[in-house]
Symmetry: C2
Subunit: 188 residues, 2 copies
């Protein structure tokens, strides 16, 4: 039981530090310090920082509330809006970003296992978003001419870039741009 | 003359390595090795890696062919398309990304001088793009209902996210998504 809890603490600290500092600037000792465990314990639980990052990406993906996007009790455009509002509100201090975006900028050129995890996470996200867009088209809420998959892939990319801009600006203005263009000019 | 050339070589190597590896993983010794100069010479030219990165961001901005976006001898939508095609073709091997995006993910939370340079570079870019969009509206080529500044800011963010996706996918499919949505669904 104690071992399990230590692994969870390292994992939680890893997600936090990869968000705050990125992959390269978050050292194993930083992670174990944040977790409040001895540095040596790291390698009892993870083979490498890369191995931790792979699990961190999975854990991060599970926290993205994809279920909201698929909740058919809510009208499609409203679900899509609430989904992005949830992601926006997580970044309230305009720092830290998205693990997919951070790793997409820093890690994917250098680690094939992590590249495939980032790609997999983005693929799941855009697939679920595409279904919500298709639901919106069936309901007559979203422009019928849009290709749902293509639009979903574009919007996930636009969101990742929006986060980079929010962090560079240190204001949420780029979120306002995203919501205005997405909901008032592109989808409807 | 020799000093100037060494500084230029360090700067060129810095831009390359910040694109290839990001800020944290590109060490001063990596940069001087790439430039083919002794490590000690670095500090004759730059106070720190951060100081080099600030100049690298400026140099990078000058290479983005903003002049093409403002070239009124070319029809506005065509200019905008060629601009993004130029940026796309620079990333032919689907690695390396954009210096604004790399620093936006990795550096802006931790260096106020570099954050302001990234923000400044993105602001110039979206301002010039907004003028091209306004030209397109005046020419009846682009939907009149769009706010040019907001659309331009959104598109620069969408482009940065598209680059992250291209690198994660290791294919250019996300570029196709960007061009299709931008030119067939959003602008026109």
């Amino acid at each position: 039981m104690a071992r399990r809890s230590m692994k969870e603490e390292i994992l939680g600290a890893g997600v936090e530090l990869f968000l705050e500092r990125g992959f390269n600037a978050a050292g194993v000792k930083d992670i174990t310090d944040r977790a409040g465990v001895p540095k040596g314990s790291f390698y009892n639980h993870f083979e490498s920082k890369e191995a931790l990052a792979a699990v961190a990406l999975e854990r991060y993906g599970e926290s993205r509330r994809m279920s909201l996007l698929g909740d058919r009790t809510i009208a499609p455009v409203e679900r899509i809006r609430r989904h992005f509002e949830f992601l926006r509100d997580e970044l309230a201090e305009f720092t830290g970003g998205c693990l997919y975006g951070n790793f997409g900028a820093e890690v994917v050129d250098h680690s094939e296992p992590l590249r495939l995890r980032v790609k997999g996470g983005l693929d799941v996200w855009s697939t679920v978003l595409a279904e919500a867009i298709a639901d919106g088209q069936a309901a007559g809420e979203i422009r019928a001419a849009l290709d749902p998959q293509q639009t979903a892939r574009f919007l996930t990319s636009a969101w990742e870039g929006t986060i980079l801009k929010v962090r560079s600006d240190k204001t949420g203005d780029a979120f306002d741009d995203f919501f205005a263009i997405t909901f008032d000019a592109l989808l409807t």
